[in-house]
Subunit: 411 residues, 2 copies
């Protein structure tokens, strides 16, 4: 029997380096993971360089690579993917930015880069959308609130480039920077001008906004300036369903991952209670994925908590989260008509609190795989698996081949 | 703790194929190597195709690949790298040649391709530098003696190409060849003309030179002609320190390797008594490397003797040299604040007396590596290591990632 569908589980940043707090081993090795181990035992395992050996991936470039979109071709910056994740429909050529609300003083110095971690900024974003006018540049825009103090900005118009700097000074006590073109070319210079005008007009609107006046009265930092970064041009993504013949969905709490999914045409599936953190509703994600597989042929699930622990340098927390995720994945053991992929997008070693280029472990489990003798899902055991050491670009094609959706090259 | 420096030990040509004299195993397997084995046990191991699987590397192309300079882009011939190794400062676009002094008869037939293995040719090279005039081509040159009968020639001027043949007939009893353009294009044709003029003028100077007259009287073969080969154009190498953020040094007895180091901006470190042969001062190299690491972030050490034994087809000599090198590396075991890489640049099987494409064993040892269970440094044990099978281009990025100097691609 040949499976017909693919369930792609990405345990974000789950792999690691030896951690002193865990006696010199990794959180994956230290964790009790009967479900992942059973999947490993029933599947074929390996290690994987998501982009290439020695390349430290971001989550964005890694996910693009795993979905078969060469990040060296498609990735210009995180902005447009964050915009998609915030629900802004990005067309090829639009310029996207990650933004956040911040606080500046009357002297125009940044005093709080997160505006007192303000939560509900919808009214502010609506006022900006209503009030800012960029038509003198022939440009229109979409500005939308994200989670917490976050937001996203998309510019659309002729002659815009994406090579511009940020206005975020990255520290407090100084004025926001002027956005500058990073290349001598009219399209980037135009974007820089548009950005500076956007900041000028939006700051004026935010200073006068009743919500901010209330916050000041209540002793809270007002959200009176927009800081923007991660400029990128939306690529022309061939839709996933057309590229592979698989209608698909994405399940993720992280707007960046949802945005990548939307950018390639995957349908985001909302799940209540998912947070991208330790307390996320993992069982909800898994049951939503299984349900989604009834209608779709491909479901990508991103589980973020281990990456968060890695960034925070908390090896024991990471181990504990892995055990929680493992338990939540238990229903997968009953799935028989699909190929299940389990891997990380990159390693996030607790010792360095950031992503590394260390290869990640990977399992492919389902009908047709050549089961090896690996019975543990971790960095060491999988290195001895039957897949050997592969790249991220090879993973999805391997799974497509197992469901008979790979293109035959030649006769 | 994260290491901050990289010590890169290249055991030139150390890996091999099964050797009948060693009961069908390799010199590395046959050798007693407690130090290399300890490094393997403390590190992560693998096998490596320096350039690509099935590609037989030269030492030059292999070292370029290991330093992260794609030899398909940067390598046009050995000449310019030998020039650098001889202390000639090569600028991008200059054409370099390996040369040797030879003996021709009055009938202009080559009678000794090494001019009686003449040793001190400095006076001859100075006479050539003084006397030869290529200004009618708009070309100037640097000609410098190397070790023994060797020398190097660099041409500088407009409109010079590197695709020219050698004048070395490769056998005795025949006349030196005319240098010819290997491509129909004016720049290569010009270089061929310049070379032939250089040979014509230099031969005249050498015939009349007092040193040669003395040699003839003493019954020695005079050094009265220059044979030239390995034409190549000096590439535009991005300096190593700028590319990786690591000021570095190179320690090697082989002028070719020193030349590659100089070409990419590594500082050559002289060590007394190093010969590139069986009798080299290996302890001096190792202590110089450790001392150099106090000031620099990257040190490349090339140890050549095993390659020599391979070229000579002497498996037992190769095994013995490996044991000598192993003992000399003992001080490395105490280094804790750097990543140590040990590998070969290529295999030099005694059975074929030349380089082969067989992958080489590699160790990466230092903080952060995922130690595997390999406890021997040889072709077989390392093939089961945690690195799997990597390319030379991936090795330095992997080490850079371990010292937190890898660029993050994406967010």
């Amino acid at each position: 029997m040949t499976a017909r569908k693919i369930l792609f589980i990405i345990l974000d940043g789950v792999s690691d380096r030896p951690c002193p707090e865990l006696g010199g081993t990794t959180p994956l090795v230290a964790a009790y993971t009967p479900v992942l181990d059973k999947l490993a035992a029933e599947g074929i395992c390996g290690i994987m360089d998501t982009i290439a050996a020695g390349v430290r991936p971001g989550s964005d470039t890694a996910h693009l690579a795993l979905l078969g979109y060469d990040p060296y071709k498609y990735y210009t910056g995180r902005g447009p993917l964050e915009c998609e994740g915030s629900g802004i429909h990005m067309e090829p050529g639009m310029i996207g930015f990650r933004c956040n609300y911040a606080t500046i003083s009357k002297e125009r110095l940044v005093t709080d880069r997160r505006a007192g971690r303000i939560h509900d900024t919808a009214a502010l974003s609506e006022a900006i959308q209503e009030g800012v006018d960029l038509s003198k540049f022939g440009v229109d825009f979409v500005f939308r609130s994200g989670a917490g103090h976050r937001a996203a900005l998309a510019l659309r118009g002729p002659g815009l480039g994406h090579c511009v700097s940020s206005n975020d000074p990255k520290k407090e006590g100084v004025a926001p920077l002027t956005v500058k073109s990073l290349k001598q070319a009219p399209e980037h210079e135009k974007t820089a001008m548009v950005c500076n005008e956007f900041v000028r007009q939006s700051t004026k609107i935010l200073f006068d906004h009743p919500l901010n006046q209330q916050r000041v009265k209540a002793g809270l930092n007002p959200a009176n300036v927009v800081l923007m970064r991660g400029a990128g041009e939306m690529g022309n993504f061939e839709p996933f369903a057309a590229k592979y013949g698989l209608p698909g969905s994405v399940i993720s709490a992280a707007s960046l991952i949802t945005g990548i999914g939307r950018a390639v045409g995957l349908t985001p599936v909302p799940v209540p209670g998912i947070t991208g953190s330790q307390d996320s509703n993992l069982a909800g994600k898994v049951s939503a994925a299984i349900k989604e597989l009834e209608a779709k042929d491909f479901v990508l699930v991103n589980i973020k908590g281990a990456d968060e622990s890695g960034h925070d340098g908390l090896a024991e927390q990471k181990r504990n989260f892995i055990e929680k995720a493992d338990a939540a994945l238990e229903p997968l053991l009953g799935l028989t008509d699909c190929i299940i992929i389990v891997c990380a997008d990159h390693s996030t070693p607790c010792t360095i609190k950031d992503h590394s280029a260390d290869p990640v472990p990977v399992i492919i489990r389902g009908d047709g795989v050549r089961m090896d003798d690996v019975v543990r899902f971790n960095e060491y055991a999988c290195a001895r698996g039957g897949l050997g050491r592969i790249t991220g670009a090879a993973l999805l094609p391997t799974a497509l081949d197992l469901i008979n959706k790979a293109h035959k090259f030649g006769a």
